[in-house]
């Protein structure tokens, strides 16, 4: 953390988006995390993604639980809605908020403790229900706030800062999310914004449960030799299957690539993602193959990153429940109390 407020002066030639904002306008208050924390880079990536998509800040709701990662929503999108919930309970609060107002963009920010330990059940059910959201786990493999014990995502055999070896199996949230029916699943690295920012943008555009696992080294407790979540280890074992070069609105993509190297993925709302394939074999629409690829590489100690699975025709909780199209707060008395005739009709349908 720092003791001074980040100066409000900005570069005179800073680009502005369609709303006339610079990326500085998407910042929050200054971070109180440790210097060099991967989480701060993820905050910066979220800021960049929202800036590039020209999202109106008041259209975003940030929700989080407890932990270093869950503190970060304070540090980005200072003009957006926010809710800091009980430990591990972010997914249910997010689900409720989403049901009440389907017009907002929901950004769930959580950590490996918050989602893979205390909130594992919450995580599973929000994904399973297909809540339209971006669920980001800032994954560092340790409990940083309690001084560096192994978390549930720490790999078996990896070492703590003082040398203790982790004997428990790790939870792979990406594999779980796929198995649970997430329609957009990705993994990235806090130290690689070129990969991370487009993934966050694509996830925001995705209409359905989008899950992103972001490896985020803990510089204080998990950035040593023997860790599998350190800057060096992740850089050395990063098996990136693809890179999102850009995503567009509905405008046609007109860039020439070598055939077979680029895949244009059209999302449900018509926006398109240009995916540069780094692994020609990898098919982002084949969930079974993706899971097997993932497990195979995990066994070899490789970390698979990129957009790993996407369902081009997703649906979400509102579709499952056939809820009303408008946010609840926009409904007037007429819609909420349709009168005794309607009640009669409804009761009759149940007889």
């Amino acid at each position: 953390m720092t003791y001074i407020v980040k100066p409000k002066f900005h570069h005179p030639a800073l680009p502005k988006n369609a709303l006339g904002y610079t990326h500085r306008d998407y910042e929050g208050s200054v971070s109180t995390l440790c210097a060099g924390c991967g989480h701060d880079s993820i905050s910066a990536a979220i800021i960049e993604a929202c800036f590039e998509l020209a999202i109106e800040p008041h259209r975003v709701a940030k929700l989080s639980g407890i932990g270093c990662s869950s503190k970060t929503p304070t540090y980005f999108l200072g003009q957006s809605h926010g809710f800091n919930s009980v430990h591990g309970r972010m997914p249910s609060v997010l689900t409720g908020a989403n049901l009440a107002n389907r017009d907002l963009i929901y950004l769930g920010v959580s950590g490996d403790g918050d989602s893979a330990s205390i909130g594992l059940g919450q995580f599973a059910h929000a994904i399973r229900r297909g809540v339209n959201m971006v669920y980001i786990v800032e994954n560092n493999g340790v409990y940083g706030l309690t001084k560096g014990q192994f978390s549930a995502t720490a790999d078996r055999g990896s070492k703590a800062k003082r040398g203790a070896v982790n004997n428990d199996s790790s939870i792979d949230l990406v594999a779980m999310a796929m198995q649970l029916g997430a329609t957009f699943v990705a993994r990235s690295f806090s130290g690689d914004k070129e990969q991370l920012v487009p993934i966050i943008k694509a996830a925001i555009e995705h209409k359905g449960a989008a899950f992103i696992d972001v490896l985020s080294p803990c510089v204080a407790f998990n950035n040593h030799l023997g860790s599998t979540k350190s800057f060096d280890f992740v850089r050395m074992h990063n098996e990136a299957v693809n890179r999102l070069d850009f995503i567009t609105g509905r405008t046609p993509i007109t860039v020439d690539y070598e055939p077979g190297t680029v895949e244009i993925v059209e999302q449900h709302d018509g926006s398109k993602i240009a995916l540069r394939k780094l692994n020609a074999e990898y098919n982002i629409h084949d969930k079974l193959a993706a899971m097997s690829f993932l497990l195979h590489h995990a066994a070899e100690g490789q970390i698979v990153t990129g957009l790993l699975y996407v369902d081009s025709d997703p649906d979400d909780l509102h579709a499952h429940l056939a809820t009303v199209d408008a946010p609840l707060n926009s409904l007037g008395e007429k819609e909420l109390c349709p009168g005794s005739a309607t009640l009669e009709k409804f009761n009759a349908s149940l007889r």
Binding site: M1, T2, Y3, I4, V5, K6, P7, K8, F9, H10, H11, P12, A13, L14, P15, R24, V30, S31, C34, A35, G36, C37, G38, D40, S41, S43, A44, S190, G191, K193, P217, V219, N223, F231, D232, R235
Partner: protein, 598 residues
């Protein structure tokens, strides 16, 4: 792009824009910090060492530092560097004990130096050389020292007591002043057996304006700089009610403002060029206009009109600016009728020239095609190895701070010459780079950035200011305003120093930098690199700092242009790859150390 060599003294010097722009390379941020701490005497001494006349310059400097100031690129107006210098001079404690001591006559080194003219150039040479044991004798036609600082700058801008104080600091070093004795022959002077002669006699001749009517109406047409010096010495104390000042430089501004105080009620400045291209500093133009003096432009004087030997006015041709394909400006007739302005007096301030009628052309001292002495721009020696030039006398009219800078260089040359060393071998400046880290988030400088806009210097009300030509107009900052203005300084001398070996490429610095100065990317040609940064580096006068030794093989590129030196990159760096280090460069001046170091 080539990696940056931060060990080269010039690299970080250039980042301190104000110091780099100052001809005498005054360590500006260093003294501004001291002012903020209320250590006025210490701030004064730093100035005194570099620029010799802090009190005078704090009121009159041409301030090349201010247009260069980084603050002007970050928000709107630069830090009021010049007026902060005045604060140091105004509020300092008695600093006499901290000045060098005069060397007693018997302990001197036996070398005698004659200095022609008692202006800033000569006095600087004397200040540098007298404490080393040289016997310095300053000659001047006036009875008091100071040269043009005393004769041409009006008292309402620069009171005599400030000149007295700072000139006396130098004369008290055992420098002999022979006033009222203009040097009339260099040949004779050299024959007196001086070991070296320094010519700092300025550019004492005002340029003439030879148009019809000049002779006939001569009684009411005055040459600006001569008129100003007559006013300064009290020989002139009135002028007609309607005054026209011809010329657009700072002398013209001094003329018009002086006229307003000597009875001129309808005073106007009329210039050939456009208002924007006028040579006068913007703030001097503002000060004149503030005193109710209009400035008319694009008017070329054609004729002085007169009746019965008395001036009645000036006729002007209206012109407009045209630019040829090379962008050179030409003033052409605007096709409008000539304009006539009535007036009682005209002050001609259309430029200054050098004049050396007292230098014989047969004493081995060569002159060039413009009748200027041939002077080496590095050593300031003429073609006679015993004779040195500096100030306006060397390369034509400039200003005080340039004269001081010349004086320092000439003093080094004279010292080298008289100790039998090669004066072309110039000792390097002393550079010190020290970390400012005091704790995890503590720095020895105030790194919090003040958002304040530039503070205006309080002035006396026009009603009072225009009554008496000796009443100083500017009151100067008080201590509170001085502190607030000082806090606007960005501490550009506290440098961001990067060590690639320590970097883990966590991006913390990139994310926190408020100005988007830092980028990690693959190296490329500079032109290409400048477009690939987080914010485009469009200011080509500012360097890119490129460093390697990163594990990913990328380079760190920092655009120095608008860095706030807030130190957040270093505070956020988990490994100490970034550090804030204060860079202090001490320019070479003549002193014992300068010889031993060479």
């Amino acid at each position: 792009m080539k990696l940056t060599d931060i060990a080269a003294p010039d690299y970080f010097h250039k980042v301190v824009d104000c110091q780099w722009a100052c001809p005498a390379h005054t360590p500006v941020p260093e003294y501004i910090r001291l002012i903020a701490q209320g250590r006025y005497g210490d701030a004064y001494m730093i100035n005194w060492k570099s620029n010799v006349f802090p009190g005078i310059l704090g009121r009159t400097c041409d301030r090349p530092c201010e247009p260069a100031c980084r603050r002007g690129r970050v928000e709107k107006d630069p830090v009021a560097i010049c007026r902060l210098k005045r604060v140091a001079a105004d509020y300092k404690e008695d600093i006499k004990e901290r000045l060098p001591k005069a060397v007693e006559k018997g302990k001197r080194n036996g070398k005698r130096i004659a200095l022609v003219g008692a202006g800033p150039a000569s006095l600087t040479v004397a200040r540098d050389l007298a404490p080393m044991g040289y016997e310095c004798v300053v000659f001047d036609g006036d009875f008091r020292s100071g040269g043009m600082m005393r004769s041409q700058i009006p008292k309402f801008r620069l009171p005599d007591k400030v000149i007295d104080e700072e000139c006396n600091y130098i004369l008290d070093l055992g420098v002999e002043f022979r006033g009222g004795r203009p040097v009339e022959s260099l040949k004779k002077l050299l024959a007196e057996g001086w070991d070296a002669v320094f010519v700092g006699s300025g550019a004492p001749r005002g340029r003439e304006l030879d148009i019809p009517g000049r002779k006939e109406a001569a009684k009411n047409i005055h040459i600006g700089i001569d008129w100003l010096s007559s006013v300064s010495f009290g020989h002139i104390n009135s002028i007609g009610k309607r005054v026209i000042v011809l010329g657009g430089g700072n002398t013209a501004m001094d003329c018009c403002r002086s006229s307003r105080r000597l009875g001129g009620e309808d005073v106007k400045v009329i210039v050939r060029s456009g208002f924007e291209e006028m040579k006068a500093s913007p703030w001097e133009k503002e000060d004149a206009m503030h005193e109710g003096i209009p400035i008319h432009n694009y008017l070329v004087p054609k004729e002085f009109t007169h009746r019965d030997g008395k001036l009645t006015g000036v006729t002007f041709e209206k012109v407009k600016a045209e630019y040829d394909e090379k962008g050179r400006r030409k003033l052409v007739n605007a096709g409008e009728p000539d304009q006539h302005f009535e007036c009682d007096d005209v002050l001609v301030a259309v430029g200054q020239e050098n004049s050396f009628p007292w230098i014989e052309r047969d004493i081995g001292l060569e002159f060039d095609q413009w009748d200027m002495p041939k002077v080496d721009p590095k050593t300031f020696v003429s073609t006679n190895p015993q004779v040195f030039f500096g100030g306006d006398a060397a390369f034509g009219p400039k200003n005080i701070i340039w004269a001081v800078a010349h004086g320092h260089e000439a003093a080094v040359s004279i010292d080298k010459y008289l100790s039998g060393e090669d004066m072309n071998v110039r000792p390097l400046p002393a550079v010190e780079v020290v970390s400012q880290k005091m704790g995890i988030h503590e720095w020895s400088y105030d790194n919090d950035i003040a958002n304040d806009k530039r503070y205006r210097v309080p002035t006396r009300d026009n009603v009072i200011a225009l009554k008496d030509i000796r009443t100083e107009v500017e009151l100067g900052y008080d201590d509170k305003l001085a502190f607030q203005e000082a806090q606007r300084c960005l501490n550009c001398d506290v440098q961001t120093v990067f060590t690639g070996q320590l970097c883990i490429e966590c991006d913390a610095c990139v994310d926190i930098c408020p100005m988007d100065c830092i980028t990690f990317t693959h190296n490329g040609e500079e032109a290409d690199l400048r477009t690939r940064l987080k914010a485009p580096a469009q200011n080509l006068t500012q360097d890119l700092y490129v460093a390697d030794n990163l594990k990913t093989g990328r380079v760190m590129v920092k655009d120095e242009d608008v860095c706030l030196h807030c130190g957040l990159c270093a505070e956020r760096c988990p490994t100490g790859a970034w550090d804030m280090q204060k860079y202090l460069i001490e320019m070479t001046q003549a002193e014992q150390a300068c010889r031993s170091r060479a």
